[in-house]
């Protein structure tokens, strides 16, 4: 059995689509005929260059990670609508009346970004981030949260033939707060954690995961494209030249960003998951880590300022202790069953730099963290298995349901990504 066979086993065949799904897709196909302009029918599809892409999504996978320091700096849950005021590391803004609106903060950032001196292009565009995610752990008697950290340090060569270097490293996990540390010690200060499983036979202790850091994973190869290939909304990378040619006016840039979000969906199926505003905010945060001319970077902030639903949280410190304004925004975040969170970004309006993004828990849920409800098969092809079937089939795929204990609380930082470096450089990142 080779690895391709194992992949086929991991991603098993799915049942065929329901008859009505097929029928609806077929009907939708031909009912749309009349609405398709003739010109589009004969037009050759616009073809983008097919670069290999290195998106921002990837780093976040490598896994969730967390830092206890952060909890000292996290704000109040954004849903309260008040400036962050109670966290020990939080400097509340100087009185509510003086707190600038989210729009004002973003427009100030736009001004600062426009005024920055043009940075000399280096050999590489380097982006270094550290991400944290909460790993619920412990036992029923002693639940606690571990904060898992992962770092990413990527460099894309500007010139063809130069190396591309992608470094990622699991930095290990430690108790998220002093309270978590106490529960962790009460549990024997374990150096590894595990997920538990609901099975027919009861709760079974499952896979262990070391809390110790891993060696860095390094991928270094010659650049295939000769330029930075920065992924935008639909996954198509833009080169440095294309990024430099983005509109510097907010209206035109927004229109361009909408096209990225909607690419291939125009007139077809509507935008991807989430509202257009959410997608635009995600795209803006992505673009702020790309090698943009000052005028375009400024326009990105202006586009962000124009998106509805943002609220200022006042002055916050990012996970590295850097000071900026926290802005709660309407963003895409996915938390486990029963939990809800608020997306927050931290921006330094005086430098025009995006410092970090966070997800803060607003609805903590029960304290038992289940990625998937009982009966949902944790494989892409599986779909739903009725809970009743699981009772008689402990080994049926999907009937072993992972869960972890943990401590949920309002205001908890569930995850963050802090942008340490997003700049031109002449040296490759160390491994």
């Amino acid at each position: 059995m080779d690895e391709l066979h194992m992949v086929r086993e991991l991603l098993p065949q799915a049942p065929p689509p329901a008859t009505e799904v097929t029928a609806a897709a077929r009907a939708r196909l031909f009912s749309g005929e009349a609405s398709i302009p003739r010109s589009e029918r004969s037009a050759r599809g616009h073809r983008r260059p097919h670069w290999q892409w290195y998106g921002l999504g990837l780093p976040l996978v490598a896994g969730a990670a967390a830092v206890s320091v952060l909890l000292a700096t996290s704000g109040q849950p954004a849903s309260t609508g008040h400036p962050a005021a109670s966290g020990p590391g939080n400097s509340p803004a100087t009185g509510k009346a003086n707190v600038p609106s989210a729009q004002a903060v973003l427009l100030a950032a736009a001004t600062s970004a426009a005024e920055q001196a043009p940075a000399a292009m280096g050999k590489y565009w380097r982006v270094a981030t550290t991400s944290m995610g909460i790993l619920a752990a412990g036992t029923k008697a002693h639940p606690y949260d571990m904060a898992e950290l992962t770092r990413i340090d990527n460099a894309w060569a500007r010139v063809a033939g130069q190396p591309l270097k992608l470094v990622s490293q699991y930095l290990g996990a430690k108790p998220a707060t002093s309270r978590d540390a106490a529960a962790w010690r009460a549990n024997g200060s374990p150096t590894k954690g595990h997920t538990s499983f609901y099975t027919r036979t009861g709760v079974v202790k499952g896979p262990s995961q070391s809390y110790a850091p891993s060696a860095p994973f390094v991928d270094q190869e010659p650049s295939q494209f000769g330029e930075v290939a920065w992924a935008v909304g639909d996954g198509s990378p833009l080169t440095t030249t294309q990024l430099a040619a983005l509109p510097s006016g907010p209206a035109k840039l927004k229109a361009q960003m909408i096209r990225y979000v909607n690419y291939d969906y125009r007139g077809v199926g509507g935008p991807p998951a989430g509202s257009m505003d959410e997608n635009l905010m995600t795209e803006a945060i992505n673009l702020l880590q790309a090698p943009l001319p000052a005028a375009v970077e400024s326009a990105v902030y202006q586009v962000m300022a124009g998106l509805p639903g943002s609220r200022t949280l006042g002055i916050m410190r990012d996970p590295l202790g850097r000071s900026g304004y926290g802005i709660a925004y309407v963003g895409q975040n996915t938390l486990p069953q029963g939990m809800q969170g608020q997306s927050v970004l931290i921006v330094d309006p005086s430098s025009g730099k995006l410092l970090a993004t966070e997800v803060i828990v607003t609805t903590p849920g029960t304290g038992i963290v289940r990625d998937l409800p009982l009966g949902i098969v944790p494989t892409p092809g599986g779909g739903r298995v009725p809970g009743s079937r699981c009772k008689g089939n402990p080994t049926l795929s999907g009937c072993i349901v992972p869960f972890t204990y943990g401590t949920r609380h309002q205001g908890q930082v569930w995850s963050y990504t802090v942008i340490k470096i997003a700049a031109w450089t002449n040296t490759l990142p160390p491994s």
Binding site: G32, S196, G235, V268, P380
Partner: protein, 197 residues
């Protein structure tokens, strides 16, 4: 226009016919009926059934709208459809990676169970197998999107190198290098769990 490999097999006869006459809705209906379940199945394996319902439907809508741009000399209709589906999947990369993450958490090296009296060998065996699944899920998530697309088009869809090249519109040689790189990474990640080791 990308230069395609000259060693690409001649498309089967019916593909050429479809390519020539696909403008007619009834001909495209044949394309739909022939390929919808297969494309749906591929997407479902990567993103789950409910996402596949939408993405497969979108794939055929896009294909229908762009049928004038289909070029039978480049590759088969099937490869062309896989290419469109793959592009749609790439828009859901976060969901795909989330699935791998859930799979990682759902698996691992078994320890003693919490309620010893109820444990069974079956469950222990199951959990052992899950360890390899976890490592595989982590490795799949760590692949670059381009490498993962090639790997899964070969492993799940059973496309040939030439078909993958046509589907993704990448040079033939790139398919081989991406596939071998992806397989190497999976083998390395599986390590001790790899059956061949």
């Amino acid at each position: 226009m990308i230069a395609w490999q000259s060693d690409k097999a001649e498309p089967p006869r019916h593909e050429q016919d479809i390519g020539r006459s696909m403008d007619a809705p009834e001909v495209f209906a044949v394309v739909f009926d022939r390929h919808f379940h297969e494309i749906h199945g591929y997407v479902a394996r990567r993103l789950g059934t409910s996402a596949a319902d939408d993405i497969a439907a979108d794939t055929f809508l896009i294909a229908y709208r762009k049928r004038a741009s289909y070029d039978a000399t480049v590759g088969s209709v099937r490869a062309w459809l896989y290419g469109i589906a793959t592009r749609q999947i790439s828009r859901h990369r976060r969901d795909e990676l989330r699935t791998y993450r859930a799979m990682r958490r759902a698996a691992g090296s078994p320890l003693a169970e919490e309620h010893a009296a109820d444990n069974t060998d079956l469950v222990a065996d199951r959990l052992t197998a899950l360890t390899a699944r976890r490592d595989l899920a982590v490795a799949l998530a760590a692949l670059s999107p381009g490498d993962r697309d090639v790997l899964l088009l070969v492993a799940l869809a059973g496309l040939s190198h030439a078909e993958v090249a046509a589907a993704l519109r990448i040079p033939y040689g790139t398919v081989g290098s991406r596939l071998s790189r992806a397989r190497k990474k999976l083998r390395a990640a599986l390590g001790a769990h790899h059956p061949a080791a």
